[in-house]
């Protein structure tokens, strides 16, 4: 709903429906401002680069980003040599000219290497839950940037939940079981997260204060790490966003002038018959 309001677009009442219906997170999402938001927003590439570091050090062990290639990292400002070095750091499967299966160092043209060979392996290694691919995660969730940002910071001690929060949690349980007396209870191997739909997430807390050390000395508390990570994931979801907005400004200016000319022509042509 926020997305719709902030975009200030036409708000036919029923268009708002799907966004609401697809929601279902826990408590209100944490609020913050991302530079890429709004009709003219652009990526903060320093943050995107830091976010890539967070992904590489903390997320990549479980989450694939199969739609990205190492070469794409040049678009966030990394040098050719840096991209080559990052690619060469991983070993990728290939077939040599005799047809034998080999492993070789990665090249910029390779896709990001996935941590698991297939989904079954991913499930087996993660308590039955397959970590989703993160290439499109910001686009694939309602208010995706704020959702991921909140999710990273949504891990909490369930015992500390206030009475009001408890009521919301019990509401989930009632809806899920259809039992009016049901109360919220954690399943085994799940973690309490106030921003995950249903509030029980298989992923243990992935990020904590100070988990990643930035070379540029940017502070590394959890909100900052989360924000940087989201900057990177947002860029990964739509690398062509800036090209889209830049082209859009030119197109809209052109169309406004054209509309003005068309209207003037229409007025002139019709002047004699009114």
């Amino acid at each position: 709903m926020r997305k719709i309001l902030t975009r200030g677009a036409l708000t036919l009442a029923f268009l708002a429906g799907p966004a609401l219906a697809a929601g279902g997170g826990g408590f209100k999402l944490l609020d913050t401002h991302f530079k890429f938001e709004g009709p003219l927003g652009t990526y903060d590439y320093a943050a995107v680069q830091r976010g890539f570091q967070v992904y590489k050090e903390k997320c990549a062990a479980c989450h694939s980003m199969s739609l990205l290639s190492y070469r794409n990292l040049r678009d966030i400002g990394l040098s050719e040599a840096a991209v080559k070095a990052i690619a060469a750091d991983v070993m990728v499967d290939d077939i040599d000219d005799k047809g034998a299966k080999v492993e070789r160092p990665g090249r910029p043209s390779d896709r990001f290497r996935s941590p698991f060979a297939n989904e079954a392996a991913a499930r087996a290694a993660n308590n039955g839950a397959s970590p989703p691919d993160l290439s499109l995660i910001v686009k694939a969730r309602v208010d995706g940037a704020r959702y991921v940002y909140s999710l990273m910071q949504g891990y909490d001690d369930m015992a500390k939940a206030s009475a009001a929060d408890r009521a919301i949690m019990d509401g989930y349980a009632k809806k899920a079981t259809g039992d009016a007396k049901a109360t919220f209870a954690m399943a085994t191997g799940r973690n309490f997260n106030t921003h995950f739909p249903g509030m029980q997430i298989a992923m243990p807390q992935p990020l904590r204060d100070g988990d990643v050390t930035y070379v540029d000395g940017t502070k590394n508390d959890l909100p900052q790490l989360s924000k940087d990570l989201v900057s990177f994931l947002a860029w990964a979801s739509e690398p062509k966003m800036e090209e889209r907005k830049n082209t859009g400004v030119k197109v809209i200016i052109f169309m406004l002038i054209l509309a003005g000319l068309m209207y003037a022509v229409k007025r002139k042509v019709w002047a004699g018959v009114h």
């Binding site: 029923f14 708002a16 219906a21 022509v265």
Partner: protein, 410 residues
Amino acid sequence: MSSSQGAPAFTNPIVKWIDRRLPIFTFMHHEYGVFPTPRNFNYWWSFGGIAMVMLITMIVTGIVLAMNYTPHVDFAFDSVERIMRDVNYGWLLRYLHVNGASFFFIAVFIHIFRGLYYGSYKNPRELLWILGVVILLLMMATAFMGYVLPWGQMSFWGATVITNLFSALPVIGDPIVTLLWGGFSVDNPTLNRFFSLHYLLPFVIVGVVVLHVTAMHVAGSNNPIGIDPKGPQDTLPFSPYYVTKDGFAVVAFLLVYLAFVFFAPDFFGEPENYVKADRLVTPPHIVPEWYFLPFYAILRAVPDKLGGVLAMFGAILVLFVLPWLDTARVRSARFRPIYKWFFWLLVVDCFVLGYCGANPPEGYFIPLSRVATLYYFAHFLVILPVLGKIERPLPLPNSIAESVLGGARK
């Protein structure tokens, strides 16, 4: 066709040579040059031309997208993302096509409601109207199959829900579903045949549009006061008057469309469709694209599956017989003081249905969607036949020219 002027005198020898053998220039001159068009059109009359522009936009962008798309369950999702990331201006083509579908429906819905308000479906334009309803049906089929192609979660589950509807039909239901699927579930054969048909149907639409426009040129256009032109003082040649007026309307419409393409390209989309199709994970709420929501609400309003399917299709089929359900002699709602109110009630009803369709069928949405569904059918099956008999229309003007220019001048 309805113009009585003879062939214009062409001076260019090549044009002359061609026109004597294939009179396309004479045809264009008659049908789009001097074609006598009522002089009192408002901008609601521009939406036919706007819809045409959107149809062409969809076909052109669609053909180029098809050059880069792979209709296979293992590659479809990734090939769409390849278009977004690696194909030159692929993101633009796809956003134009995706939002183009929404704006095509916006244009067509406005066009249809304009016809409803001004009685454009009445004698002698019944066939013209029926052909329009055929176009709407074809558009819905095309849009539905197009939405399946990216093979996201909503593509897959939308396809599963909608194709399953046919299984409600007795005897022929299950064979139809198997035929649609090309197997026993939504799978690769389904995606392949939907891609094939999604490419075919737009050209069928073009064919029916040609018939629709031809029928319009035979009967002549309706107009905001709904009385026939009585002479040359009531009409203007299509060019330059309506070329310039429709031209401005098209540019203004495209301006809004492009604003969405460049600044809110995912506004009409579902985030869930950026998740690759997974037959083991059902999304919490399966919702169709917004332009199907009123029909989806009607489907779910009926507590019986077969009844719901029949009601949903009935909601469109009833439009085919609309020219005979409306018993009023006067066309335009401007002179129908009571119908005018029922028209706006129907508009509100369609929005209410859309709102119900977007929300899960629980709580107050169930009674609300039932009342709205009943009202939708009552409008066509009860209100219109009765209203035509009891309503006293206002006095009609003597001519279009008189109504536009005032009685004193002519």
